[in-house]
Amino acid sequence: MTQTGQAAVERVFREEYGRLIASLVRRFGDIDIAEEAASEALVTALEKWPESGVPPNPGGWLTTTAGNRAIDRLRREKLRDKKHQAAFMDHDDTPHTPTGPVEDDRLRLLFTCCHPALASEARVALTLRLLGGLTVPEIAQAFLVPETTMGQRITRAKKKIAAAKVPYRVPEAADLPERLGGVLTVLFLVFNEGYLASGDGDPVRAELTGEAIRLARILHQLLPDEPEVTGLLAMLVLTEARREARVRNGQLVPLGEQDRAGWDHAFIAEGHDLVRECLAINRPGRYQMLAAINAVHTDAPSAADTDWSQVVALYDQLTRLDASPIVALNRAVAVAELDGPSVGLALVDRLPLEGYHAWHATRADLLRRLGRTVEAKEAYDAAMTATQNSAEIAYLGRKRGELV
C-alpha cells in the first residue's frame, strides 16, 4: 500500500470517526463495542480502499462495515446479556446521512462525554477521543501527560459511564442550559490549550484549536438557536483568525503589534456574522460578550483605530455576567488604553492574581509605559517565571531586555 493511500484512508476515518462512534454507541449502547468495531472497520478499509478506491459514501461504508463487525463479534461471543440481545434486535440498515438522526447521535454522545459526573480532565480527553477521533497518544501529547496516564483516565471514564449508566441523551429542556454550559467549557478548554499551550513544547497546537472549532461548528449546526453556542463559535473563529500573526520567530506578538494583513479575513467575516446572529437573539451570555469584544478588535484596521470605549463597555457587560478577576484584568487593559496606564495599573494592582502570568505581564507593560523601569523589570521576571509557554517567555524576555 502506498503511504498516500494509507494517509487518505486515515484522514477519511478521522473525519468520520465522531459520527461513526456516535451511531454505533446509539445502536449497541456500549462505547467499548463501538470503538472496537470502528477500529476493525478501519483495518478493512486500509485493506480495501487503496485498491478499490475510497467509496462514494465513506461514512456509510464505515458505519455498515463496523455495524456488521460488532454483530459478528457479539454472535461469536454468544453474549447472553440482555443489553446485547437488545442490540441484535435493534439491527437496522438505516442509510448513513450527514443530517438528521445521525447528527443527534453526535450531540447525545457529546453530552455523555461532558457529563458533570465525570472529572473535568476526563471530559476533555473523552470528547477529543470519541468525537474528535484523536488517538490516546495524540491526546496525551497535547496535554503533556504520559500515554499510560491518559489511557487510564479515558478507560476509567468509560467504565464509569457504563457502570453508573451515564445516559446517552440530550438533556431535557429544563436541564439544557446548565449541561450545555459544561459542553461549552470543554470546547473552550480544548481551544485554549491549543492557543496558548501550557507546556514547554510547541507554543501553539493548531490541531487542538482546529478540533475545538470543528466540534463547536457541529454543536452550532445542531443547536442553532442557542446564542451561547453561536457566541462560543464566533469567539473561537475570531481568535483563530489571529493565530498565524500571533507568533513570529518563536515570539508572541501582542494584539497591538500584530500584522493585521496576516489575519485570516474569511474567519473574521464569519465571526462577525456569527456575532450579529447571536446578539440578535437578545439573550446575552459570557461567550457572546467575549465574541463581541473580539469583533471590535478585529474590526479595527489598525491597533490605533480600536474603539476602546466600546471594548470597555462590553467588558462592563461581561463583568455583570462573570465577575471573575480574570475578566477584571482584561477590562483593566482596555481601561488603560482609554484612560491611561496609571488608571489601568491601579485596577490591576487590586486583583488577587499573583500566580497568573498574564497579571504580571500586564503590570510589566503598564509599569514600562509609566517609566517605572525597575518595577517593570521585576514584573517581567515574575511573568516569565509564571508561564511555560516558550513564545510568551521569548516575548517577555525581549521586552525586558529593551528596558534601560
Binding site: H115, A117, A163, A164, K165, V166, P167, R169
Partner: protein
C-alpha cells in the same frame, strides 16, 4: 434499571442534635426525609433505606485469617463518615442524581451516588 447506593456523609463527631443544630431543625429534616421516602416508594425507585448509629459504634472484623480479628471503631479513621443510606433503582445516572439532590436537601447532608454491581 440500575441499583444505586445513595450514602449520606457527615462529620464523625456528632453533636447533641446530630448535625442539625436544634431539635426543631432535626425534626423538620426527619419529616422532610420521610416525605422523600414516601415519594421514592410511590414513584417505584425505593429498594431499601436506613439511618446508622454513630461511627463510634462500629466494629471491624477481619475474618481472612484463621481466627477472626475484631477491632473497635470504623474501618477508616476520617472526619467524614457515612451516616445513613438509600438503595434505589433508577433507569440511569441522571435520574439517580436528581433523586440524590432531593435526598441531600431533605437529610441536610452530602450524598454519594454509587452504582451497585448487582443486588443479591
Amino acid at each position: 434499571m440500575t441499583a444505586y447506593l445513595m450514602s449520606v456523609h457527615g462529620p464523625a463527631e456528632m453533636e447533641e442534635f446530630g448535625n442539625y443544630g436544634s431539635r426543631e431543625a432535626m425534626e423538620e429534616s426527619f419529616a422532610e426525609t420521610g416525605r422523600f421516602n414516601d415519594k421514592l416508594k410511590a414513584d417505584g425507585y425505593w429498594v431499601f433505606a436506613g439511618g446508622l448509629q454513630p461511627a463510634s459504634t462500629a466494629t471491624v472484623v477481619d475474618g481472612q485469617g484463621e481466627t477472626p480479628v475484631v477491632t473497635d471503631g470504623p474501618y477508616l479513621e476520617t472526619k467524614e463518615l457515612i451516616g445513613g443510606f438509600w438503595v434505589i433503582e433508577a433507569p440511569d445516572l441522571d435520574v439517580a442524581l436528581k433523586l440524590a439532590a432531593e435526598a441531600s436537601k431533605a437529610c441536610r447532608g452530602k450524598v454519594e451516588v454509587r452504582p451497585f454491581d448487582g443486588l443479591a
